[in-house]
Each structure stands twice: as C-alpha cells, then as structure tokens.
Symmetry: C2
Subunit: 123 residues, 2 copies
DNA sequence: CTCCTTATTAGTAATGATTACTAAATATAG
DNA sequence: CTATATTTAGTAATCATTACTAATAAGGAG
C-alpha cells in the first residue's frame, strides 16, 4: 500500500474526529485540503483501511460510518434523533467468548431512545 | 396494523427460519405461497415489523438480514465465507449497562474467520 | 537522480438494495 | 352490509456504493 496524500488525509480525518463520519462527510472534509479528491477515491481508501483494520466500519443507518481504532467502545443509537453515543464501559471480555473461529473485531450496539429525546416527549 | 395474509406469511417465514434471510430471500419464500406478492410489500412489512420490534434487523453486508425475536443471541460473521453463526452465550447483562437513554434492543457482532475457513487455508 | 513498473487517482457510468408512488383491492369498525 | 382508511401490486425513482478507464504518481532498481 503506497503512501499517498489522499490516504494520509482520510486516515487523519478519521483519527481526529469524535463523530461518526460517513463516506460523504469524509469526502467533504477531504475537499477542504484536496479540492479535487473524488468520492470514489474516498470509498476505495475507506475499504482498504477497514480491510487492514486501520479503521473501523460501523453499520447503523442506510450508510456506513467510520471510527478510529484508538479505543474499543460500544455505541448507543437513538432511533428518534439518530445520534450515536459512544459507550466506553468494558462490556465484553473477548478472550472468554467461544465462537467457531478467530475473532478479528467485534461491535456492541444498543438501540433505543436517548435521554434528550425522552425528555422532549414528556413536555 | 391490519392482519393481512402477506404480513402473516412474512412473520411466519422469519419465525420458522434458522438462517439470516434478507428481503430478497423472504420475497422468494413468500412467492411459494403468494405468487403475486411484490417485493415492495415485503420491504414495507419488514420495516413495520422491525419498527414494532416483532422481528430483528441485522446489518452485516450490503443488505439487511432479519431474525426472529425468539431468543436473544449474538452473531459471528466470517469474512471469508460470509457465513453468519449464531452465538447463544449470554454476553451482556443489559440491566447493568449505563447508556444515556432507554435501551430497546441490542446487538453483539463478532467479525473474523471461521474454523472451516481457517482449516481450508492451512492446506 | 532518472527510468520503469505498478498502484493509485479523478471523473464518470453503472449497480444493487431500498424507498416512493399510485390506482386498485381489502380489512375492519360501525 | 357499507364506508373508510390501510394495504397491496407493480413500477419508477433514489441513494449509497462499486466498477471502469485513461491519466498520474509512488517508490524501487540501476
């Protein structure tokens, strides 16, 4: 895998973001520094980086989001406001899980209604 | 929500299946009994049922799969053969998890290479 | 440093899963 | 049984993602 300015930029954007960016978000961020980068390039880089486990692909809505690999965490998705909250509690001891194979990665996702939206409803 | 033969059939198919069927799979199953059912109807019913938490929507590949609600379980996805294994160990005590809201549902997904594919590789 | 090979890119077209739309059909409350 | 609102089949449209191609650029060998 060659070091290109496009790939470095995509990785940098993901590693420096605390949000859950999708391909389009990352594309627009990229264009601030590389105005000619193409969306296809962003998609290809995202695929390469997640295959090599340099970033994490998340499936929440109709599109995929991407997270840095910095720290394992879970997610709580609010069905009302569609916000994704990071949950940093250690939930699973992966070494103890018995699966019929070798685990590369795992993902814990909670779905529900966040406190902000619950409070709105009670008005 | 009215009781229609289409909706009853979709729910029945999901509840009686041990696989992880996608919309197209369910559509073809449906057509065995209702040859005129349309794919759009299947999609609409799948959305209604999962919104009402009568079935569970799973996001693994480029398309969504659907599971019955019968028994909470996790999944192990093999990146080589794309098979989805059910994991029935209790991994998480949901009551103890602190999230900023009310949890309706959760999902634990492991990704890696299954034993079958690991053994193939070693030949 | 220069050349050469091969990966990568920008731009665009194509794909595939899902949703939107509409007139006709059907469930169910009264 | 009748009226009304929901649901349906069939089709067109949408949206995220992938495929394709000629041009560009990374980086190893000389």
């Amino acid at each position: 895998m060659r070091t290109t300015k496009q790939r470095k930029l995509v990785l940098e954007i993901i590693n420096n973001s605390h949000d859950h960016l999708n391909a389009e978000d990352i594309y627009y961020e990229c264009r601030k520094k590389l105005p000619n980068i193409s969306l296809g390039t962003v998609y290809r880089i995202l695929n390469q980086l997640s295959e090599r486990q340099m970033i994490k692909r998340l499936k929440f809505e109709s599109y995929d989001c991407f997270d840095s690999m910095k720290r394992q965490h879970s997610h709580f998705y609010c069905v009302k406001c569609h916000h994704i909250y990071d949950i940093f509690d250690e939930l699973i001891n992966v070494d103890k899980i018995k699966v019929p194979g070798k685990i590369n990665d795992y993902d814990v996702k909670f779905v529900g209604t966040c406190d902000v939206c619950l409070n709105k409803k009670e008005d």
